[in-house]
């Protein structure tokens, strides 16, 4: 019997090749991408992304009226003692057990280029000094960070380290997803960090993360407009109301110029409206945080005052301020890079927190680094060590230079490079008047969304002030019933 060898036809060969290629492609795509080799750590700190302003802001003048005692002691702006240079921070040898091999940490945060670049540089430096630690830094869009994080945590694929704004942190706490800081780390944080920042990670007396930066939102004014009008920068909310007579122009229901064009969408309305409310002696929540406490005369007065500075017909607040159509708005120090790039001719400065009828106060937020409870002991240990190093004075000062984000440790705030920077100095000097942005409740994100949504309807004249407050109260109270309150 002869054995016949059948040769493949051209078509069959092609099919076989295509099949093999498809199979290989499928198999290859199932593999995660190889970790890119990190570039060598730069030896020099990056050049400051934010140059000092051409006009140094006037020193923060204390308000004439009796300001209430600040909740926390104001940091001295004069350098108390020399701090280490920002580029020479030693990286501690991580305590992660070498025998167990490399400790790999996934680290998620949100995009802001100057900040991300500096964090990446610091991460690479740390990895270089601790070869047993490998950190993968991933940037997720801010609006989607919480969704991605919660989904991943539910499925057990979440990161070991994550950036979480103070608004999100109570929700993450309620999900029981955060690791408590070991005693020595907690003590270190309580001692070294600025008190209002520590509040952002302090739940029921326990510490659940490091603070990276504090929002530091202040009024920013167009200095040229004020000089041209021969008026002084406002020192109080009463001054702001008087200034509306100087600056606001209305034609046929359309504002063309206004002292303030405050935002009415996104997360920012809450900051400005909440600040007015607090400065008039009101608050959003009752003392026990179990009900909405703003549907009253103070709430109405604050909301009506806020409305005087909201002009949706003028356009987005960043642009109207940059184009010289509005003269005061509220932003954090990071806005400098944006204003300098987009509106290079604009002359502006930050001014101190405005005095209200009852308080001199500014609502704010803190950005925290937290660690997943699901991380292994080795990952947790390596994570806390890394975060501690990341927030040392040198790194925090370096971050201020790169991104203008206000640091959170007392020593960093007193560092000459921070305390003497004219732009940053104003923000640092006002930290004593900050109140932590987030509530102490587990579903704060949802409550805040209700407030922002209703304020947007009010600003666009869809509903009245009374209806707005009533709806915030009704919807908010429904949410608060399901909420967990942290002390």
């Amino acid at each position: 019997m002869t054995q016949q060898t059948r040769r493949l036809t051209r078509r069959e060969s092609l099919r076989l090749a295509a099949g093999l290629a498809a199979g290989a492609l499928l198999a290859a795509s199932c593999q995660p991408a190889p970790t890119p080799t990190p570039p060598p750590a730069p030896t020099k700190a990056p050049a400051p992304a934010v140059p000092p302003p051409t006009q140094a802001p006037a020193p923060a003048a204390p308000t004439a009226t009796a300001a209430p005692k600040p909740a926390a002691p104001a940091p001295t702006t004069a350098p108390a003692k020399p701090a280490p240079a920002p580029t020479t921070a030693p990286a501690p040898a991580a305590k992660a057990p070498a025998a167990a091999g490399k400790v790999r940490l996934k680290w998620w945060s949100h995009p802001y280029k100057a900040w991300n670049d500096e964090l990446t540089r610091q991460k690479i430096t740390y990895e270089g000094m601790n070869p047993s630690i490998e950190i993968t830094y991933t940037v997720v869009a801010y609006d989607e960070l919480y969704t991605k994080f919660t989904t991943a945590m539910l499925a057990g694929t979440g990161p070991e380290l994550m950036g979480a704004q103070s608004t999100m942190t109570p929700n993450l706490m309620a999900g029981n997803w955060l690791a408590e800081a070991p005693k020595e780390v907690a003590d270190d944080i309580k001692t070294k960090f600025f008190p209002v920042c520590v509040e952002g990670v302090n739940f029921n007396g326990k510490i659940y993360g490091y603070n990276q930066h504090i929002g530091g939102i202040l009024p920013i004014i167009n200095t040229e407009a004020f000089e041209a009008a021969k008026v002084e920068a406002p020192k109080s909310w009463a001054d702001m109301l008087k200034l509306t007579q100087t600056f606001d122009k209305q034609s046929g229901g359309k504002y063309t110029q206004a002292v303030g064009n405050f935002p009415y969408t996104s997360w920012v309305p809450f900051v400005t409206w909440g600040t007015i409310l607090k400065s008039m002696g009101g608050d959003i929540l009752s003392d026990d945080a179990k009900s909405i406490a703003l549907n009253n005369d103070i709430g109405r007065a604050a909301t009506e005052e806020y409305l005087k500075y909201v002009h949706p017909e003028m356009g987005a607040e960043n642009d109207t301020f940059g184009q010289g159509k509005s003269f005061v708005y509220f932003r954090g120090p990071w806005i400098k890079a944006f204003l300098d790039t987009q509106f290079p001719k604009l002359k502006y400065k930050a001014i101190p927190v405005l005095q209200g009828s009852k308080a001199r106060i500014q609502k704010d937020y803190v950005w925290n680094w937290v660690i997943s409870k699901a991380a292994t002991d080795a990952q947790k240990e390596a994570g806390w060590t890394f975060l501690g190093w990341l927030n040392n004075v040198a790194n925090q000062v370096s971050m201020v230079k790169a991104s203008a984000l206000i640091p959170t440790t007392k020593a960093s705030l007193e560092h000459p490079d921070v305390a003497n920077d004219p732009w940053v100095k104003t923000f640092v000097g006002e930290l004593a008047y900050k109140t932590e942005y987030a509530g102490r409740i587990s579903n704060w994100v949802q409550v805040e969304k209700v407030v922002n949504d209703e304020l947007a309807l009010l600003a666009t004249k869809v509903q009245s002030v009374n209806d707005t407050l009533k709806k915030i109260e009704t919807e908010g109270n429904k949410l608060l019933k399901e909420s967990k309150v942290f002390v």
């Binding site: 995660p32 991408a33 996934k106 993968t136 869009a141 989607e144 989904t151 499925a155």
Partner: protein, 291 residues
């Protein structure tokens, strides 16, 4: 007689002027609709050409006074690895589209041509899946993919999109128009069912396949939430995921750069549409005939 002719002429003139008026009205309506449809794209395009100070002005600037095309587009090209994002998006969209074209046409053929018990119930079951919104399936699906070790892989993006209920519905609708005599003739000649499907039915399906291909490619190309959940590594990001790097949490958006990225993201979809345009329109018409 002359008066009758005159009346007829007048009537004819009136009718033709009525027709002309109606035609003009229709044309105006179509133009208005086209403007409404095209304006967002125009605005996006023109925004991608503007310098920052012309972005948000009152009154709005409809034609840039200063052009920043090079600055905006070069920023996008240099700040994010857009070529990699393109490649990832194209790979995922192409694999998924090819798979959907195959599975949908095969399922459409089976549902229409093969006698199976309970196939109508099965078909209704498949159609019913279209009514379950994605957010409901999102977390269970994610957990399944985690168990299959597909999280943070490109395969995880397309393996869940190898079939399409909409595609099966569309192809079944078209299969109804394929002359049964053709298929029966092939059966009489001894052809197997797969052979009939591949050699007779499929060549007749180019129009609906083009329509389905374009629809599905666009859908996959624009996917955001699923890649957002699945992909952690920067190297594996698809284009929509990569473009959000221009958005920050600080209430500041560089719209001109975001729009430059979005415009670049539209290019492959436009190419795919132009390539299949002729078949696309025909496919939509044909599959709607016997619905």
């Amino acid at each position: 007689m002359a008066s009758i002719a005159l009346q007829a002429t007048r009537r004819s003139t009136r009718v033709s002027s009525q027709r002309l008026g109606l035609g003009a009205l229709k044309a105006a309506l179509w133009v208005a609709l086209a403007v409404v449809m095209l304006f967002p794209t125009y605005w996006g395009l023109i925004t991608s050409f503007k310098p920052p100070h012309e972005l948000n002005t009152d009154p709005p600037i409809f034609w840039p006074q200063q052009w920043s095309i090079v600055e905006n587009y070069s920023f996008v090209l240099t700040q994010i690895p857009i070529a990699r994002y393109y490649l990832n998006s194209f790979y995922v969209a192409a694999v998924s589209t090819l798979a959907v074209l195959f599975t949908s046409s095969l399922a459409g053929y089976i549902f229409e041509e093969i006698d199976l018990k309970g196939k109508e119930y099965l078909f209704m079951g498949i159609i019913a899946t279209m009514m379950v919104p994605f957010p409901v399936r999102m977390i269970p699906l994610y957990i399944i993919f985690r168990d299959l070790h597909l999280v943070n892989t490109l395969a995880g993006l397309y393996l869940g999109a190898l079939t399409s209920a909409y595609g099966i519905f569309l192809m079944r609708q078209f299969m109804k128009t394929v002359p049964r005599e053709l298929l029966d003739a092939a059966r009489i000649d001894g052809a197997g069912e797969f052979s009939i499907f591949a050699r007779i039915a499929m060549p007749l399906c180019t129009a609906p396949l083009a329509a389905l291909g374009i629809f599905h490619f666009m859908y996959e190309w624009d996917q955001f939430v699923w890649p957002l959940l699945m992909i952690d590594d920067g190297d594996l990001r698809t284009l929509p995921l990569g473009l959000v790097a221009f958005r920050t949490g600080f209430g500041v958006q560089d719209w001109h750069k975001i729009m430059a990225g979005a415009m670049m993201g539209m290019i492959p979809v436009i190419i795919v549409y132009l390539l299949g345009q002729r078949h696309f329109v025909r496919g939509i018409t044909l599959t709607g005939l016997k619905s």
